[in-house]
Amino acid sequence: MQRVVAEYISDLGAEVGYQKFYPQSDQFNPLHFFSLPDPGTLQEKVNCSSFAINVIGIARAPRGDGKEAIVLVTPYNFEDADLLDALSVGLTYSVFSLLTQVTWLAKDIIWLVADSRCGEYSSVAAWLRDYQTPVFGSSSAADSSTCDSSNTFYGLKDSSVIERKITDNFRRAGTMAAALVIKVIDKSEPFEDTLSLYAEASNGQMPNLDLINIVNYLAVHRQGLHVKVQKLTSLINAKWLTVLAQIFEYVGVIARRLNPQWKFGIPAAEYVDGTATLASSLYNQALGVPTGPHGAFRDYQVDAVTLEFSPKVYSMSKGRHKEFLVQGGRLIEGVIRSVNNLLEKFHQSFFLYLLTSPGRFVSVGVYMIPFALLVTPLPIMAASLYTKTNNLDSDAETNDLSIYQKSFTWLNAAKKVLLVHLWGAIVSLLPYAICHLGVSTPAMNLAVWSMLSVLCYLLFCLILGVRSAKSGKAQWAVLKSATLSAVFIGLCLMSVVNFATAEFGALLLVPMCLVIYPLKSDLHAGGLMNFSRMACNLALVLIGFPPAAFILLKGALDGFHSIYVGDFWIWVESLWAWNSATYLYITMIHLPCWLLCLHVLLHTR
């Protein structure tokens, strides 16, 4: 099958190469979060029996200097492919065959037919790894020693035709300017041909907005396609959101009546739609897991986007493929032409944004403001709590020495915060050991993980004596102020790494941290106010616990009947498999802060 594709590409006068790679097994590597995995170490873990072969065609720009290239990616399962897979290859082939003939090309075109038998992402990532960071020497030596140096390529070679430029050496074409991943799926769209855009790469990184704008503009205004981005469908049907949208619409209408220049009213349907899209965009970014093969490109600073075509139902059934090919082909050609004509690559600072619809976005300058407002109470409250406790104590004793001692009360709290965070770091490393234990079911894994965590925590308490003997009157307040500052620092750091995660985290953590108050004191006081605060505290602490939050969110979105305990483990596993910083956030910031809040809540005296 690869040979057929390669022959077709070669007949167009383009260069063809094969790339063989071994898929990697998902392993927990604690040190690989922000760096690309070292290719040398990856080689040892390959599974020799299964390998995949990518086909790469390169059309050289006739008059270009070959410094830059545009990449087209078509995932294709060579083992069992259906009609739609074939259609996506056909679509890209038609575009590629056009591009081999045109004279306006200034950048080379690389067409990667990615063998998706072991995942679309991994095949593209394997190709990119070979393209950007090839390993000389050691790799193939290890390759031949561990796996038997198979003659896969010889089977592919067509010996009879000499003139074909099919070789197994890796072909390259300059610096990549942009990449498009092209897929065709059947979503049974009833009315129009639609185009779905996927852009989120790992850790919430986005391609330059201009690329999305080009695709959107050309698709809507030139080809009349219906462009979509992902939405949270459960939000669209939510009653409360509809009501909210109607209120907003009403306010907008009133405002316009007051002053015709005030135009902030949005139609209710549009508002609901935008909110659903925004929530999905935020969720995908917060997860830190790429939404498609385009995510692999972002690791190498290449802007990439996945275009998922889904044709009309009747056009597919009535065999009107040609119309679809023309429409999709024109769109891809237009996008390539736009990128090709650019002298510089996309560079203005539109990398930080959230999409609310294919044509609208929320920029960083706007979405940072709510986050900043959410986070600023933390240091203020911490400072006020600290000064208050100091003053309370100084009221009682005016001895100079005791004031001096009091000024160090924070040390104990800080020590505690530090230790709990250390515990969090250890918890984050525990799955590495669990992976080697070889426990099979996710639920068991989760149980082992939580057991070990608790055990670890108890050990900490025993050895280092987290509970200090003489707890002052306002010990909890100092602890709370230390927790608040730790949360503040953690959230600010995370907002730099992945804003969406920090936003979600802030939504959960900030109310909990601000409201938290010892249970005992509330019980002693026993007023209505105290009681409501107690209830509030308990609810927030419950929501703040990561597994609980996960299950609640999942239940709210998918319904509670489908919840399985192991789901959380599976989710966490997917996080570290994709090197998501969200995992680090959960274990090293969220969980310790939650535990500290629990400490405050259960504070005696």
């Binding site: 007949d11 070959g66 410094k67 830059e68 960071t133 000389f136 790799s139 050496n169 006020s384």
Partner: protein, 667 residues
Amino acid sequence: MELLRRPIFSLLLLLSLPISFPSISLGSAVQGEDGHREEEFTEELLLKPLPDRKVLAHFHFENTAQRTQSYGRHHHLFPKAISQLVKKFAVREMELSFTQGRWNYESWGGFDPISSSNAKPPGVELWATFDVPPDQVDASWKNLTHSLSGLFCASINFLESSATYSAPEWAFQPASGNLRYGTLPREAVCTENLTPWLKLLPCRDKAGISSLMDRPSIYRGFYHSQRLRLRPAKIIADGADSGIVLEQTLTVVLQPNGFRTKSSHSSENKIPPTWAMSSLLGRKIEGRCVLAKSSNVYLQLERGLVAELNALKENQEFVGTTVLNDDLIENPAFEISVKPDWVLKEVGNLPTGSSSLMYGYSIGKSTDSGPFDLHLTWKSPMVWSCPRPPLHASRFLMGSGNERGAIAISLRSTGLNEGLYGSNKDKESCVLPVNVFQVVPWYIKVYFHTIKVFIDEQRKAVPDVIEKIRVSPSEDKVLPGVMEMVLKLPCGVKSAAMTLEFDKGFLHIDEYPPDANQGFDIPSAIITFPNVEAAMHFNQFSSSDKSPLLSRFREKNPVQSYTEVLLVPLTTPDFSMPYNVITITCTVFALYFGSLLNVLRKRASEEERLLRAKGRSSPLSRLLAKLRRKKEVEPQSSTTSSSLFSSKLVVKIILVAAIAICWQYFG
């Protein structure tokens, strides 16, 4: 006496000019009064079908001038601009090339003289050697770049800066310290560069072979390289001052029309497209340039093609249809419209066994029978391969991110070196030397100690592989990094790779070019195979004896190939940053001076007294007080101060909001 004689002499010359003029226009070469050759001009065109169905057209114009005193500063045919340049800057040798597109070493060949000396890197490449003392070489180079820049309407003057040119010593060409080399990979090439180049020809593009240069069809090609080469003339009979030879070549790779008319997946596709000179170049040769000594057109058939034709011929003979000549003019594969005036066959030790053929046409004769046009009609499918260099060189960047990276040069065997060496020598002692010459701009900070060499995927110690190396490290904003090295590879090498790590430097804001976000170029590296010579000897024929093109072919130059130009993305600042900085600075200053004035204006003691009178304050104001490092003394009862404070604040906020609303409403 000297002073007196000179004006008289020039006066005589002036007088004799009208008399000698008709003789110039009639005679092919100008005969001096003392009988020996003075100036010569020849024009030649070589056409060659390429394996990937394209056609190579190589124009070769050569202008020779003996350096004599007979005409003083004047010449008959030799362009004055060039001769002045040569005299003024004491240029011994020079080569200037303008190139668009890339030479495809895999399918257009890399082993024959044309590809080895005419395949150039994209953009402008200039090198020159000077006949001046070593300390004046740089000054001469700078002046030369400026003069050439004016002469060819190109930004060659950017090569003046010492950060752009280098002085290779042995890896590029053997030179004794007075060679300078510089490239501009981003220079765009167009007709504005061709016109001044054509002006140097005696007939311009009005007559002769140069009249074929129809601009649209030339620039429609896949590769376009115009070259100007100055060489000292070698033929010195009486040991006098050697003359100078100006060699102007234009190499174009063209796509014959009608390529896509046939269906593209069947076997018919393998029939190379039929072409004619008029369809290829858009014009016909109307007649020779009368000033030219010789005016020839050649059609070259490559070794691979000749071998295929011979095989085909043997098949045909086996069937017994026709008996063919050795010169293959009549063969079953193609048909030529004009019978060649002579046929040349390659002689010498040939690696592949078959020799290439050259059909020659003299333009002088064909003018009598109308304009000259050559048709090549293919009749049967033909697939052949071209002579490739022993190792195919490619270069690429490794790594990601804006901090560091690596340059890798990979050499892959094309299977030819076994034929070259495998037969006559044993494999252990056989060594294939490869020269690598690479210039790296200063902002790519290459660490030369990180050289790693891999041969056949095995890492080798550097001293084992590198025979000789010369490195001149870059100096910020002054000198580029230059690396010259000789690799000795075993003859049976399958692949070799060399990596060099680098850090990306930072430029000053005004050093960025206007298109900084495209990235920065690393000029092509030059890979030379000193032991492999790209020479073609053709059997002697009376007229070919004097053909400069064929004598160029006969020269024993080492095979040379250029690697790709690389594009390195560097960290670029946001160029709107200065504006942002200005606004932020202004805001900070405004805040600072505002608060300073506020503090200076306030009476601290009075405020304290006020506070004491008002008693305990809110936690926020206490915090503020603490920040001001003032101990609050005895906070007493009454909460009026805090409410007063907050009510004041609220009033202020409401005032500001009201103003804003008014502004919005009425503005």
